[in-house]
């Protein structure tokens, strides 16, 4: 009965599953959450997505420009309150990450590192002066932050870090280096975690501080539309006031990572959704053996498997988001979500890639770009193995890290 694809005359509208929201998860969002989500989706799809393939190909990223744009949308540090931050719910923040990562994991990484790692560290562990000094500019995107925890020989085991800060009169002198630091060379302020005589502490190091330098890492095959750098700290002298006063152990940086991982749970679901949707529209138009590719059983099985994963990942993200807003979310829950959704998303991206055939390996389509990006997402913010160990410990009561 469908006419012109748009209008039909029929007595009843039969309930029918929507391929793009099979489980009607949208109906579980509030009006405000949908407005926020739709707005970020529209902006990211219309204004950012067209620029991504070039960035990815050239291995560059307009961090400054994009940070300002994200600042105008007010999504930087959106889940924090005060100091120019919007004070949105965890679910709204998650949905934002979902839409950003549906465009590119590099875009979501910029926002995660800015809001959940750098800003959160200052917001949670900083002094009032530090908050006043940095947070409003970081929320507006005028100032960019990075988060330096990982080192060449200390990734999954950050307690093994070698970077040291020692007291010298009223100052601190920091020596060491950090590797794989997102936003590193573009950051105005680096949150640096270092060993001290009293354990791990956090420091705010300004870009121009003598002895501090950042070198970009080239040749990445993943997250190419994202700046990743090595930070070198060579007798970097900072005043006592640049130490984060409330951070007194490794627990502090780990709590920041927990915030950022929460965004990844939604983000990975967004990347998976983007791959699924691309494959779905592609296969409806692509004809093989004289009929649409989507009409073959083998293809349909792939779609069903992808739909199961995309919908489960979205449900899981929303569930964990609601728990976070209720205050019942434990770090083990976040590990569960990060592990489950990144593994699911990589699987979906690979399956979607096969459906696009040779076009699947091209940058003209987003699928392999997502698949490549997701390799980083699987590894950073705690590898899949580490999160497996976290959940394993939570299930059995026995830690198996060492």
């Amino acid at each position: 009965m469908r006419q012109n694809g748009r209008m039909a005359i029929t007595s009843v509208r039969k309930p029918k599953a929507n391929p793009l929201d099979f489980l009607e998860i949208d109906s579980r969002l509030s009006d405000e959450e949908r407005l926020i989500r739709d707005n970020v989706r529209a902006y990211a799809q219309e204004k950012i997505l067209p620029r991504v393939p070039d960035w990815f190909e050239q291995g560059t990223f307009d961090s400054r420009g994009v940070a300002r744009e994200m600042g105008q949308l007010e999504v930087l540090g959106m889940h924090l309150s005060g100091y120019g931050c919007a004070g949105a719910s965890a679910v709204s923040y998650g949905l934002t990450c979902m839409e950003l990562e549906a465009v590119d994991s590099g875009l979501r990484s910029l926002v995660s590192v800015q809001g959940s790692l750098a800003m959160f560290a200052i917001w949670q562990y900083g002094s009032d002066e530090q908050k006043e000094r940095w947070l409003p500019g970081m929320a507006s995107g005028e100032l960019i932050g990075c988060f330096g925890l990982t080192e060449a020989d200390a990734g999954s085991d950050p307690a093994a870090m070698r970077t040291r800060a020692r007291r010298d009169g009223d100052d601190w002198v920091i020596n060491g280096s950090k590797l794989w630091i997102t936003n590193g060379s573009v950051a105005d302020v680096a949150v640096i975690w270092a060993q001290t005589d009293d354990g791990i502490r956090g420091f705010l190091v300004e870009k121009e501080t003598p002895g501090f330098s950042a070198i970009d890492i080239h040749g990445k095959l993943s997250l190419r539309a994202s700046v990743t750098s090595e930070l070198v700290l060579d007798d970097v002298r900072v005043p006592a006031a640049s130490q984060l006063p409330e951070a007194s152990s490794l627990g502090a940086p780990l709590s920041c990572l927990n915030e950022a991982r929460f965004g990844i749970i939604f983000g990975a679901a967004g990347a998976a959704r983007a791959c699924f949707e691309e494959a779905l529209s592609y296969s409806g138009e692509r004809e093989v053996f004289d009929k649409p590719l989507s009409g073959f059983q083998l293809t349909q099985q792939k779609f069903v498997e992808m739909a199961l994963e995309v919908n489960k990942a979205s449900l899981l993200a929303l569930h964990l988001g609601r728990m976070k807003d209720e205050g019942t979310l434990a770090p083990e829950h976040v590990s569960f979500g990060k592990l489950s959704n990144t593994v699911a998303a990589i699987g979906v991206a690979r399956t979607a890639r096969t459906i696009l055939g040779a076009n699947g390996v091209s940058l003209e389509y987003p699928v392999m770009r997502h698949a490549n990006n997701l390799e980083s997402v699987l590894t950073y913010e705690g590898t899949a193995e580490i999160h497996t160990l976290v959940v394993g410990a939570a299930l059995t009561g026995q830690q198996a890290y060492r």
Binding site: R6, S11, R13, L35, N39
Partner: protein
């Protein structure tokens, strides 16, 4: 000055529209959105305000069921200062004339200097509400406006026409319906979206606005839908493969010539 923007909640563009043969009306269930053309009207109001003309207030006005509150939230997120929701079971089934009358009655209580609206709604696509409202308010009206400058109580507008555009000067108060070429609506900021619920929203029933009951609803409508028919199936088009561009141009010219189109 005070600007009222008429806005409407419409089925989302992605939803396949369906006519119900029993009620002979459009089925408006399913995903809905603020009529895209109306976002241009709000943006036009914002640009007048930000352009230096003192604007005391931008008020979003809608007539629609309970769910239309969502469209109003979006309208205030886009910049309107407050909103008015005319909602009453008695309004159900109103045709264009009845809807225009009811909206005009609400607008009378607001007494605006300028009424802006999208030139068409995504669902009804009548293009006429602006003219009906203007007639009731006894205000001059322009439709399909794609450029608008406000100064000294006057508006200078460019109005899209078949042959190009007309430049028209019009005294305020006036009713202007805008096309989507007039501006690029902004993306609201997060705080604007989150603040939307805090902006005042008046819900009014028919009686609150002195709307006469026999001029609205199905009974008060002067049009009656007698029958519905599917639009004729479009003929399959003819695809001209572009192998040699000169040849292709010739083929297209011949095709147009045959039909006396050039």
């Amino acid at each position: 000055m005070k600007i009222c923007c008429l806005v409407k909640e419409v089925p989302d563009a992605a939803v396949t529209k369906r006519m119900d043969p029993d009620s002979k009306r459009l089925d408006r269930s399913g995903e809905k959105n603020l009529n895209p053309f109306d976002t241009h009207a709000i943006e036009a109001a914002m640009q007048i305000k930000e352009g230096g003309t003192p604007v005391e207030e931008i008020v979003a006005v809608t007539m629609g069921p309970d769910s239309a509150v969502r469209a109003l939230h979006k309208a205030v997120a886009l910049g309107a200062d407050r909103s008015v929701h005319l909602s009453d079971a008695a309004l159900e089934g109103s045709d264009v004339c009845a809807t225009g009358y009811a909206l005009a009655k609400i607008l009378e209580t607001e007494n605006p200097d300028l009424v802006l609206l999208g030139q068409q709604s995504d669902d009804g696509e009548c293009y006429t509400i602006g003219a009906v409202v203007a007639d009731h308010l006894k205000m001059p009206s322009l439709t399909q406006v794609i450029k608008m400058d406000a100064a000294d109580g006057k508006l200078t507008c460019e109005r899209q026409a078949e042959y190009g555009y007309d430049t028209v000067e019009i005294d305020m108060p006036a009713v202007i319906s805008v096309g989507d070429a007039i501006n690029e609506p902004r993306y609201p900021s997060l705080k604007a979206i989150m603040g939307a619920k805090k902006k005042p929203l008046d819900t009014k029933a028919v009686a609150d606005a002195g709307i006469e009951a026999d001029r609205i609803g199905e009974g008060g409508s002067r049009t009656t839908v007698l029958a519905l028919a599917e639009p004729p199936q479009k003929e399959a088009g003819e695809v001209i493969e572009d192998e040699d561009t000169n040849e292709t141009v010739e083929k297209i010219v011949a095709w147009l010539d045959e039909r006396k189109l050039i």
